[in-house]
């Protein structure tokens, strides 16, 4: 009887372990970069200017700012008729810390972000193959880091739910 009891407990243990691993994987869904090849900027580049034309008397105010408008079009066909959470991700990149804020026309959420992070722009059902909005970005960069023109890269990523 003892041997039989031991034998009957093992499958239960392995089943519980397997469920546990599966549950953890579902909770930490790997973000998937979304096809944004339909996205286009309405201006060719972002021209920076000093946030304040005049510097302070003491301390440092080296921030430079610039705005640009981008027509975002992302392909969410793979998630059609499902729910998901879409993030705007601004990876850490040269020349250093970059701040970005944006306003939208309503399809996506407005937000702000520092490079190296991501911000939620949509959560809910995916009802159309493509999602579009016009985002007006406001970038902030430390002027002491700027020596020449530089690219800023961002992308959209999906967390499936």
């Amino acid at each position: 009887m003892i041997a039989a009891r031991r034998a009957s407990t093992r499958p239960t243990f392995f089943l519980a372990l397997a469920l546990g691993i599966f549950s953890a994987a579902a909770a930490q869904a790997k973000p998937i970069t979304i096809d944004d090849s339909g996205t286009a900027a309405l201006e060719p580049s972002v021209s920076l200017r000093w946030r304040s034309a005049t510097p302070p008397r003491s301390g440092i105010d080296n921030l430079m700012v610039g705005t640009t408008t981008i027509r975002v079009r992302i392909n969410v066909m793979p998630w059609l008729h499902r729910s998901g959470r879409i993030y705007l991700s601004l990876p850490a990149q040269q020349p250093g810390p970059i701040g970005a804020s944006w306003i939208t026309q309503g399809r996506f959420l407005p937000g702000q972000i520092q490079s190296g992070n991501r911000a939620l722009v949509y959560a809910g059902p995916i009802t159309t193959p493509f999602m579009e909005d016009v985002l007006k970005f406001h970038f902030t960069v430390d002027g002491s880091l700027i020596r020449r023109s530089f690219p800023v890269t961002f992308h959209f990523e999906m967390d499936e739910s």
Binding site: I34, S45, T54, P55, P56, R57, I70, R148, S149, P151
Partner: protein, 222 residues
């Protein structure tokens, strides 16, 4: 699971990203004000966006106004009674400049007509650079209508500012008798200002007359 694997293979995480090009457009700005100057509005800037200030003289956005061109030439002068000429008692000079308030924040910084405002800044992107230099191009002497002269070195100045402490960016000095002399410097991306109080040394006896001379101030940024 099969659908998920297929999806990951089709959408490589590095395949899609959007890139915008950012360039620093005309980031360099210099401003020098000796006497009166012009700004579209006071600076009033802070370190937050949008600026929290909402006073009438603050710029409407991005923390403040912008410098304007002002061609006014201010004078500094003193009139001596004949009995006082050359008696060795230094004479305070006054200016026709009305610039008492700093465009930095509207603060009453100089006391007019006893003080002449001098201030400015230079904006530059990139790494820290050498300081900008402000120089005075000084004639050899003040002259009157008949050619009599008073050496420019008979005029000196002290430097201060209301509510100020520490080292002045435009320190006290004495004019040279002809030549170019440095009268101050400005580190990049900071506002610099002082108030000069001029004095005529009055330790020689020139002929009676009206003696004038023009000093040209120049700012040179790297």
């Amino acid at each position: 699971m099969l659908r998920g694997a297929t999806l990951l293979a089709a959408l490589s995480p590095s395949a899609f990203a959007y890139t915008v090009t950012i360039d620093a457009a005309a980031p360099q700005t210099i401003y020098l004000q000796v006497g009166v100057g012009s700004f579209s509005a006071d600076y009033c800037g802070g370190t937050t966006y949008p600026p929290p200030h909402n006073t009438p003289n603050c710029g409407p956005a991005y923390g403040g106004g912008t410098p304007q061109n002002n061609t006014t030439i201010n004078s500094v002068s003193v009139t001596l009674a004949s009995t006082a000429v050359g008696n060795g008692t230094a004479q305070a000079m006054t200016t026709n400049s009305t610039a008492a308030n700093s465009f930095l924040d509207g603060w009453t910084f100089c006391s007019v007509p006893g003080q002449l405002y001098i201030g400015g800044f230079f904006r530059t992107a990139g790494a820290t650079t050498a300081a900008a230099q402000v120089t005075a191009t000084v004639p050899a002497a003040l002259t009157d209508a008949t050619g009599d002269t008073i050496p420019f070195s008979k005029i000196q100045w002290t430097s201060s500012g209301i509510g100020d402490n520490g080292t002045e960016p435009f320190p006290a000095g004495t004019f040279v008798n002809g030549g170019v002399q440095t009268v101050g410097s400005m580190g990049s991306n900071s506002w610099n200002e002082s108030c000069w109080t001029f004095t005529y040394l009055n330790n020689t006896v020139p002929p009676a007359g009206t003696f004038t001379g023009v000093v040209l101030y120049t700012m040179s940024a790297p």
